[in-house]
Symmetry: C2
Subunit: 429 residues, 2 copies
């Protein structure tokens, strides 16, 4: 038996990588003052149909449950956000700044960087319509990526403005019912031959290509870039009107983060969606909003390909399952040893010991394999214990009642110092 | 629209509670040297049928996916563990000590402490058949509960031994094919009238009741209690042969943790399952194992009802979304303020500011609502900034280039100290 296609097993090393990604995200979200929330993995299918139309159902893990409800495993979190905000927004001061790290599911063809499940950081700022909120979210997106060790040579956020295009279409008398297909044609222009785009755009094709060539911009995009410049983040971003984003519900600024080399799919994407919460909640809550999502799969691939980022990851994962290994040299000391194991753990040390009798040399081997920094030998010297610093080989006999104090004074890491060291890559990023 | 029945929304406060439970679990698992892993939320239905028979399917969120596969949302993690262990065990030194915190799903009638989803800490020790492993797991179960602030008056682990009962049945010539129903009758004896149990047990009923009355035990249970006594944990556990556990696959020691008052369902339960991995993997890996699971729902209910545990929870949740609030008294200082916000966040401070122009008094209000410990006022004094300690009201003008150093010296918490304080309840538990 195997895992289903497109689903991952997380063995300890993969799980530690995943936890590193989550911890890095959470640390930056804390600095930006966002609160974590979450919704159910399973929701009524109708919630997704309402936002994305019937086409979405073909990409869902959806079914009828034993209570005859049409349900679906969440493909994204935004519809749940709209539901939860509509029901609870009155109890929260605006702007509401929330994030979540849901696992999301789509039944689609597997490709590089796209599985049938992934974890996705969702960041949303709700209740503020101004460009300052857009700047805050884009700065956040950049700082999230920087926290993994990416520099301006590694990543870029391409920023555009839906309103630029809707004004553009309006000025050229394109009827509003044609706007969605025009915006889609612009969105696809990078991935399709120029002739195909020209065909899709019809009479406005030349004007669009000219805008691309001129590197068009708007007053809003200008003030957005100024806001990023004020934070020293301008070099991580660029105005690029070719970005439109496929989803119909964006109303203003949209953006996508990419690796500079253009080797991978988007690392993150989002924008302003001022009408969606109102639509999804049937007007129960009408709030402007801006948000984005960042997945774990492409991000992990780019970390692996970027020297500084993968070195940072490796440093963060260099934690051993045991700080201290207790060696039971004489089995009649097992009970005494177990009492000390318990004391060590209660003091916050990671402590391990052999469950069954084994030769002392073998036990020292295990201690090394587990990456322990010190070994305590329980044998003939009892009620003294030999404490061996496994980093420099020094050994000393210590009376049993002094063990904790002795360990605290050794030049090996204390539980708290050890934890801080693990976290340092985040703090110094 | 609402969440589906039996599914929870986690608004920020509920999400913080959930994260506190996870962090507390993870901290104890680290001290015991267990590594975290995870499997897919969705698995082939056959994986669960193989372990639990056809009856399980009636309790599953199962369906046929778009590739015509019979799939189910995981009701538990053990079958996935067997699958992953069978495929990968050779690369891991024994004993394998793993934990996971999966969300699990069952379509069942909602009751107090039982929803249709819950998070469940799974702890398994694989590859060691001796009683020392049983002791280690039961000690772990006790220490996990102690880490939430529960004392010996709050909780108890009731420990039993399946082998005691199978030897008992063998000695009384009960044919092995009747053992499962006998074990089930013993398991249910506490929840059913004595007559019903007597009827189910038939001719051995008197002998069983006599064993209950005598408080029967076994050599293995005695050495297990001695092992717990060596760790100072004996008063958290009791031998209780009425515990059998419903699941058919347990082969030796079984245990369940309860609140002392008996008000709630079991907090945790598990035992030894020496044959299951071999069965589920068709013999690909035949390894003895002992494990248990602890859910988040009953645990959370008991925390709320226990003064010390709920005080510890409240202390852990007392974190504010912002350490420092930046007040923009003059809008023409916004750019300067934003640069400092960025610097504060890069130094690890949680920093926030008003996205739109607002009166200074209103901004101070927001700072207080967010629980900020200091406010920086950007106004006429620029390039100096007024730094106000919101905890004692003291204020001082500081040149812009000295802000970070000044904050580090203030008697408010530095980013690292602040994090340590949040974690202290875990370390001192």
């Amino acid at each position: 038996m195997q895992a289903l296609p497109g689903f991952r097993d997380f063995l300890p090393e993969a799980c530690a990588r995943r936890n590193y990604i989550f911890a890095t995200w959470r640390e930056v979200m804390r600095r930006y003052g966002f609160l974590e929330w979450d919704g159910p993995v399973l929701e009524p299918t109708e919630l997704y149909r309402k936002k994305s139309g019937n086409e979405i159902v073909g990409q869902l893990f959806n079914f009828t449950d034993k209570g005859d409800r049409a349900v679906a495993m969440r493909p994204e979190l935004t519809p749940t956000l709209a539901r939860v905000i509509a029901a609870n927004e009155r109890q929260f001061k605006k702007p509401i700044k929330w994030f979540s790290i849901p696992q999301c599911f789509r039944y689609e063809k597997q490709q590089r960087g796209r599985l049938r499940e992934h974890f996705q950081l969702n960041c949303d700022l709700i209740g503020e319509a101004g460009v300052e909120a857009d700047i805050e979210l884009i700065a956040l997106c950049i700082d999230l990526l920087r926290a993994f060790g990416f520099a301006r040579d590694d990543i870029v956020v391409r920023i555009s403005d839906r309103e630029f295009w809707t004004e553009f279409l309006e000025a050229r008398d394109v009827p509003p019912e044609q706007w969605p297909q025009m915006l889609q044609a612009i969105d696809k222009s990078e991935r399709e031959p120029r002739e195909r785009t020209a065909e899709n755009l019809g009479r406005i094709a030349d004007a669009v290509f000219q805008t691309f060539a001129e590197g068009g911009t708007s007053a809003r995009l200008q003030s957005l870039m100024q806001g990023l410049a004020a934070r020293g983040l301008k070099e991580f971003a660029t105005i690029d009107l070719k970005i439109v984003r496929g989803l119909a519900y964006y109303t203003g600024v949209v953006f996508e983060a990419f690796d500079r080399k253009g080797k991978f799919r988007a690392l993150a994407g989002g924008g302003r969606y001022d009408n969606l919460i109102g639509q999804l909640s049937d007007g129960a809550a009408s709030l402007p909003a801006v948000g984005f999502a960042m997945g774990d799969v492409v991000l992990g691939d780019l970390v692996d390909e970027t020297a500084a980022a993968s070195a940072q990851l490796a440093a963060a994962l260099q934690t051993s399952p045991a700080d201290i290994f207790v060696i039971i040299a004489k089995e009649d000391r097992r009970t005494d040893a177990l009492r000390v194991v318990q004391e060590l753990r209660e003091a916050g040390w990671g402590a391990d010991y052999p469950l069954v009798a084994a030769k002392v040399g073998r036990q020292f081997q295990t201690a090394q394999q587990l990456g322990a920094r010190a070994a305590l030998v329980f044998g003939d010297e009892w009620p003294q214990v030999a404490v061996k610093n496994l980093e420099n080989g020094q050994q000393q006999l210590v009376p049993k009642e002094d063990i904790l104090a002795h360990l605290a004074g050794l030049p090996i890491l204390s539980p708290r110092a050890r934890r801080s060291q693990v976290e340092r890559p985040l703090e110094e990023s």
